[in-house]
């Protein structure tokens, strides 16, 4: 008998056949049991099948929720396979629980379709099938080699994603090598490499890989959020997915939210965003407020930044929008329905900053102080911050605003007491807060609390010894109260800190002159002369330097000598001054003003004014008048004087005479610009403008002046509009930008007219002088030139009410009212007229001539020194402003 097939082989074959049938039927446990026996016969052949049976069993257990049993199966598998293979198996099976959420054909079908070479499929189709396989996240077992190969490639993608989630970068690279270049899963390889680069800091490589993904594929869609984040991190400004309302953009929005860990709130954010872009700001805020617990917040997390957005965006909104937004918070505050302290803090801050200019002082104060309190509670105490905060509040309360009512005086501070209190508090919290100190000085000065101001300044010189501004201010205060030594000492210290500030030598000269004056008054002329000599290093020879020009100091010295010491010396000094002055008229005006200052408290004319009048009666030049106006302006600025009626009248009356002399456009411009806001200058300036227009009727600037000088109460809007438009066209043609800007502004003002001027303003600042040589015989009652203005109709009723109130008011109230009016600069004559009109009494007669006073009679003037040689005529220039008009 030949050797027969061993009986064992037949049994093994039968067992193998049975086992394969069980595997194909998914009867994993039975198949495993058979395989355990078969393994002993041929380990190499049956081991893979045993592993497959165990995997199938584990998957079956996991699907049934039998985790513990599945873990036991894995523990057994760990004895059969190496660890990395076990990990791969785990990865493949970890998706078992999620397969219920995946809608799509079974991956096996897709694999089979991919492997079927008999059917020609397009690249997108193959890609779609591959995406289905990957997104199923199920291991696929396949018998056919082609299908098995594809299944292994899909498995590699899953394993790579698993390793990526655990930051096992080298494992990721190793696993991905199993997927060849031509694999239908190759785009997934690119995706995984791209997102690995995202997290390993290889931003450029990541962007390049992710951008190269085939459009429409699942990885390409998933890559959009990563690409947006990469572009942002690179500092660029990619079109934010939030910028568009397209569905794909919303998908990216949601995707990015998931990536940043806000996936569970992406719906809320997207809804809030949609509201905001639709202009529903309050609804947007409420959507987030109602659905997000940690919002609003003061932290640096995204709820904190989002809070910052909502509470800062109103600053850029249109008025109607932010008013609505603020009203929402005002309501929450009023009903005490704020969500948390962060909201309380931010709401008060927003309300205070937005309403700082318009809120009533007590409301502003309450809101801002509430903000500071809550800020301290949220972020901790910070005295520097609190000091800045109170300083800001003090500054806002010290802002001046126009008074209400008909009898409106000059603008007043919003809350002077509050301003002082807040600024003092600011200083207490931070004694180094210089801005608060300076502001408090300003407030004291405005309230005329000079002693408090000076006391504060003295403290400041000690506290801020190296601050030039402080020393200069302190010096000003000292000179004002005649503490000259101290003041000049402060100026010396200031000069050491800044040798280039021109204000310091100016104040030094002013201080020395004031000190010398005091010394002259004390009959110490030698001392005074020594003091004036100290000013020498600071003097300039500039003719237009009225503060420390040599000629001005000579005038001052000369007048002091004349009044208190040596008249001969005085005349010599005055003669030198006359020689150095830019114009005789300038010297005379300066001398008059200084002499008048020296003769205080008496006001009135001086001999110099008479001489000025005589000089200007001749043939004055417009340039001279410009000098005079410049000098007057500076004098008023420095000395705070408003009552310059006599001087203005002299200058005003000279203008028509100057029109008969040649002048340049620049000289005319200076006179007009400096005089246009002065009382009663309108008529002579109109004559001047008329002359300019005769030379050039289309001159835009001159036409603007003409319009401006015609006064607001006589304007005809339609006519003015046409004229302004014509001026705009001409200014554009001539490229006259200043005139163009001005004309456009005036056109805008026609639509929004400025508030009515105070009828008791400069037009009525003083009585008309009865000068027999005044040839302006026309009635000055137009343009507010008479005792009472021509009131516009809308003010008549209010004026009538005022008169009625004055008629019935008791005397004590009228006395108080008179004092108020005097403080506001209303002349007594005007007030008396009102009272008389109210009570039906005869109106008082306007005063005539200068007020009577009796100062020491000045010595008679010597004949004037010969005039200095007039300046040589300027060479011709092409600048039209410099051309003579005649």
């Amino acid at each position: 008998m030949p050797a027969s097939v061993p009986v064992v082989s037949s049994a093994v074959a039968a067992a193998e056949q049975r086992m394969r049938t069980l595997l194909a039927q998914g009867k994993w446990r039975q198949a495993r049991n058979d395989l355990k026996a078969l393994l002993k016969t041929d380990r190499a052949r049956f081991l893979p099948l045993l592993v497959e049976a165990n995997l199938g069993l584990a998957r079956q257990m996991l699907s049934a929720g039998q985790d513990a049993q599945a873990r036991q199966v894995f523990a057994y598998l760990a004895t059969l396979v190496p660890p990395e293979q076990l990990r791969a198996f785990e990865a493949g099976l970890a998706g078992t629980a999620g397969t219920a959420g995946h809608s799509g054909p079974p991956p096996g079908e897709s694999i089979a379709a991919l492997a079927d070479s008999s059917v020609a499929r397009s690249e997108p189709e193959r890609m779609r099938l591959a995406d289905q396989v990957v997104l199923a996240f199920e291991p696929v077992s396949a018998a056919e080699p082609a299908q098995a190969r594809l299944a292994d490639e899909a498995r590699a993608i899953h394993e790579a994603l698993h390793a990526w989630s655990r930051r096992e970068w080298s494992a990721v690279s190793e696993i991905l090598r199993r997927v060849p270049h031509r694999s239908p899963f190759s785009h997934w390889v690119i995706f995984v490499k791209g997102i690995m680069g995202f997290h390993t800091g290889e931003a450029e490589r990541a962007a390049k890989l992710l951008q190269g993904l085939p459009a429409g594929s699942a990885p390409a869609k998933a890559a959009q959020a990563y690409l947006w984040l990469l572009a942002r991190a690179a500092g660029g400004e990619p079109a934010s997915p939030a910028e568009s309302s397209a569905p794909t953009a919303e998908a990216t929005q949601a995707a990015v939210c998931r990536l940043i860990g806000a996936g569970d709130v992406s719906a809320v954010l997207i809804r809030a965003d949609r509201h905001w872009r639709g202009g529903k700001h309050v609804e947007s805020y409420r959507a987030v407020r109602d659905d997000l617990g940690p919002f609003p917040s003061a932290g640096l997390d995204w709820p904190g930044v989002l809070s910052e957005f909502y509470f800062k965006a109103p600053h850029g909104m249109a008025e109607a929008e932010w008013v609505k937004f603020l009203r929402f918070f005002a309501d929450l505050i009023g009903r005490d329905r704020l969500k948390n302290e962060a909201e309380r803090m931010l709401a008060h801050r927003l309300s205070s900053l937005m309403g700082q200019a318009i809120a009533p002082p007590d409301e502003l104060r309450a809101g801002w102080e509430a903000f500071l309190r809550v800020h301290q509670a949220v972020h901790g105490a910070n005295p520097h911050l609190a000091s800045l905060g109170y300083g800001w509040l003090g500054e806002r309360l010290s802002m001046v605003c126009r008074s209400r009512g008909f009898f409106a005086g000059p603008p007043q501070m919003r809350d002077p007491g509050g301003a002082v209190e807040m600024l003092r508090r600011s200083i207490e919290l931070d004694p180094a807060n210089l801005a608060a100190h300076l502001k408090l000085c300003d407030v004291y000065g405005a309230l005329k609390k000079h002693s408090e101001r000076n006391r504060l300044l003295d403290e400041m010189t000690a506290r801020f010894a190296d601050e030039k501004h402080v020393l200069v201010r302190a010096a000003e205060g000292c000179i004002e109260r005649k503490a000259f030594g101290k003041g000049l000492g402060y100026l010396a210290r200031a000069r050491q800190l800044d040798q280039l500030d021109p204000r310091i030598p100016e104040l030094t000269v002013a201080g020395l002159c004031a000190q010398a004056r005091q010394q002259f008054q004390q009959r110490r002329p030698e001392k005074a002369q020594q003091t004036l000599a100290q000013a020498e290093p600071w003097l300039t020879d500039k003719p237009d330097d009225f503060r420390r020009g040599r000629w001005t100091v000579l005038v001052r010295h000369g007048l002091m000598e004349r009044r208190w010491a040596n008249p001969e010396q005085a005349e010599a000094l005055l003669a030198r001054a006359r020689a150095l002055a830019p114009h005789p008229a300038a010297m005379l005006l300066f001398a008059h003003l200084t002499d008048r200052e020296n003769s205080k408290p008496y006001f009135g004319e001086t001999g110099f004014l008479e001489e000025l009048k005589a000089t200007l009666r001749g043939a004055p030049r417009l340039a001279e008048i410009g000098w005079l106006l410049r000098l007057l302006e500076q004098w008023q600025d420095e000395n705070g004087e408003t009552r310059m009626h006599f001087e203005e009248k002299v200058i005003r009356e000279a203008i028509p005479r100057a029109l008969s002399q040649p002048f340049t456009r620049a000289e005319a411009a200076e006179v007009i610009e400096r005089a246009r806001d002065r009382a009663d200058f309108a008529r002579p300036l109109q004559q001047l403008v008329k002359k300019l227009l005769r030379a050039d009727s289309l001159d835009p600037q001159a036409r603007l002046w003409r319009l401006d000088l015609s006064g607001p109460w006589n304007s005809e809007p339609a006519k003015d509009r046409a004229e302004l438009q014509s001026i705009v066209d001409e200014a554009t043609r001539r490229r006259d930008d200043p005139s163009l800007r001005k004309a456009r502004q005036m056109l805008r003002d026609l639509d929004l007219p400025p508030p009515m001027p105070n009828p008791f303003g400069p037009e009525l600042a003083g009585p008309e002088l009865d000068d027999e040589e005044d040839d302006h015989e026309e009635d000055d009652f137009e343009h507010g030139g008479g005792p009472l203005p021509d009131l516009p109709p809308e003010m008549e009723e209010e004026f009538a009410e005022l008169l009625e109130a004055m008629r019935v008011a008791p005397e004590s109230a009228l006395r108080d009212l008179r004092k108020t009016a005097q403080r506001q600069g209303v002349p007594d004559f005007i007030f008396d007229t009102l009272i008389a009109a109210a009570k039906g009494k005869p109106l008082p007669v306007p005063p005539s001539g200068p007020p009577k006073f009796s100062p020491p009679a000045p010595k008679p003037l010597p004949p004037s020194a010969p005039m200095s040689k007039p300046a040589a005529p300027k060479p011709p220039v092409s600048d039209p402003d410099q051309l003579n008009l005649f």
């Binding site: 995406d131 997915p241 910028e243 930044v305």
Partner: protein, 101 residues
């Protein structure tokens, strides 16, 4: 954007730390190669470089950090780096959700 986030420093950072963060940021994004980013970094530094600046920022700053709520959250995400990789399950959900769009 919030200057603390731009420079990557906490609210209680001191001057030296803020300056260091500023210099590091400038090194990473020099003006020649990243002009916009540099501008943002420089602007952030100006706002919080010392205590008075930080106080003024807290009290008075009104620069809005974005154009819309979502824009602000996304900008914040782009600044606060690095993002950690999603967990495997989260990544699965993410991929499936993106694929549905």
């Amino acid at each position: 954007m919030n200057p603390y986030l731009v420079l990557g420093v906490p609210r209680d950072a001191v001057d030296a730390r803020i300056r260091r963060a500023f210099l590091d940021a400038v090194k990473q994004s020099p003006p020649e190669t990243h002009p916009e980013r540099f501008k943002a970094i420089a602007g952030a530094y100006e706002k919080i470089k010392d205590e008075p600046s930080r106080c003024r920022y807290d009290l008075f700053d009104t620069d809005c950090p974005g154009n819309s709520p979502l824009d602000v959250v996304l900008r914040h995400a782009a600044l606060t780096a690095p993002l950690a990789p999603l967990g495997f399950e989260a990544m699965k959900d993410y991929l499936r959700a993106c694929a549905k769009t």
